[in-house]
């Protein structure tokens, strides 16, 4: 059963063409993500880690290799995968409520309203339905984006540096919240980040990527029980070894 909903990436390569030149962005990336796993992917900017998420989400379907979800090859976007981008991407002319509605394309009004209030409550934003994105703080806007990505109950939630643009305190708070959401639900989560501490704090596994071309350099299992303590010795040691892996450039 559990194997059914797992994501399998097999020998994934991706080439970008620009000005007649070709750039190898990803080379032979293979990954397996089990159901309800939290996977962190860390890498320097430009290593193609976001490209992996774009391919999983179905936004980019021009690749070599095989990417399957629940045994089926990904050929385009689908509601079984939700994505949170670095920027909140809320439509500025719609209220929070309307932005949530924008993501729901089926069901009657009553079901829609129930889904929206359930997910706004999940991110602690009940009462902000009538607000426009311009009236929200960065953290609140990103919470709405998370609620919107979850509203169709996807099997996998893809997080593309979702907290990268937030201040340090808000970032810590949202890390905790996304962890709570992950523990409550059954959603598989894949987060791309360049923050090693964030990757270790959240992930069951941390995948370290090299850049140009992006390949998987090493995988770390995070065998620390939750709630994790960022100043725990084991935590710090793991963080340190991932950091060292980063430093060793070829």
């Amino acid at each position: 059963m559990i194997e059914n909903k797992c994501l399998v990436i097999d020998n994934l390569s991706k080439v970008f063409s620009s000005g007649g030149k070709e750039f190898l962005v990803l080379e032979n990336v293979s990954l397996r993500v089990a159901q309800h796993e939290f996977l962190s992917i860390v890498g320097a900017s430009g290593c193609g880690k976001s490209t992996i998420l774009r391919i999983i989400s179905g936004l980019d379907i021009d690749y070599k290799g095989k990417v399957t979800l629940s045994g089926e090859i990904i050929t385009g976007a689908g509601l079984d995968r939700g994505i949170v981008f670095q920027e909140h991407r809320l439509l500025p002319w719609l209220t929070v409520q309307e932005n949530m509605e924008f993501a729901i394309n089926k069901g009657n009004e009553e079901d829609k309203l129930a889904l929206i209030s359930e997910h706004l409550e999940l991110v602690g934003l009940t009462g902000f339905e009538k607000f426009y994105p311009g009236q929200l703080s960065g953290g609140m806007a990103q919470r709405v984006a998370i609620a919107r990505a979850l509203v169709n109950r996807p099997d996998i939630l893809l997080l593309d540096e979702p907290f990268g643009a937030l201040d340090a305190l808000t970032r810590l708070k949202l890390q905790q919240e996304i962890l709570d959401i992950w523990e409550k639900g059954k959603t598989t989560m894949i987060m791309v980040t360049h923050d090693i501490e964030e990757a270790v704090y959240l992930g069951d596994r941390v995948v370290v990527m090299s850049d140009r071309p992006g390949t998987i350099k090493k995988e770390f299992s995070v065998n620390l029980s939750r709630p994790r303590n960022r100043s725990d010795l084991a935590f710090l040691q793991l963080r340190e070894s991932i950091y060292r892996e980063f430093q060793e450039r070829t």
Binding site: L59, R81, W93, Q135
Partner: protein, 269 residues
Amino acid sequence: MEMVLHRAVAYTSNLFSWMIFWKKIVVPLVLLTIWQGITASGMVKPFLLPSPVQVLHALSIMIYSGELAIQLGTSIVRVLEGFALAAFLGVSLGLLLGIFPIMFELMDGTIQLLRPIPPIAWLPLAILWFGIEEGSKIFIITLGAFFPIFINVLDGIRQTDQKFVELSKVLEVPRSKFILKVIIPSALPFIISGLRIGLGYAWMCVVAAELSGGMKGIGYMMTDARSLAQTDKVLVGMLAIGAIGKLMDSILKALEVKIIKWKGAFTGG
């Protein structure tokens, strides 16, 4: 003590608003003074440039007799009719070409070929087709207002943020919802500036068309006054055209603020 303070505050705020008002009228006042000075000195003949006082006098006579209202009314009705038609055509064709690439490929070349022809150059043909009065005037106005509206609508759609297009793809948003909730709202500021520019063009076109022919409207009134050597009436016409044009633009500008209220929140006012 408190009273004194209140008075002082009231006094300074009065002074402040008075200063803003003063700034707005200082340039027109200087120009009027120079104008009055030149005409009073006898350097130019009143036939070429009547004094501001003369123009004011002509204005009051024309207001009193109702002539100004009738002629202006005729022109304004023409503009509103032509502009309404242009807004409808410009917005719908802009949306059609912006959303469906096949429509763009089919029609854009032709539209771009017609665009450089000045609206007034259509007048001889328009008079043959639609007669000298309403028909040809409205045709010219519609033509003049259409292009800025159409081009802005198309441009607005082209400028839709790619990020929102991706978002809609990921959320599998149906096409009709995508057009209504993403394309149109994001193009709306462009559409409204297109309408504002279009209305300005419409007003210029009606005057140009009326100056070139016909027996009604503010433009006709000016040609008629010139042939009777009533230069003060010509100037009244020019000032009225300026005032009405400004008024129309102000109304659309106020409407823009009302319609795009999210933008006020977005930029923090």
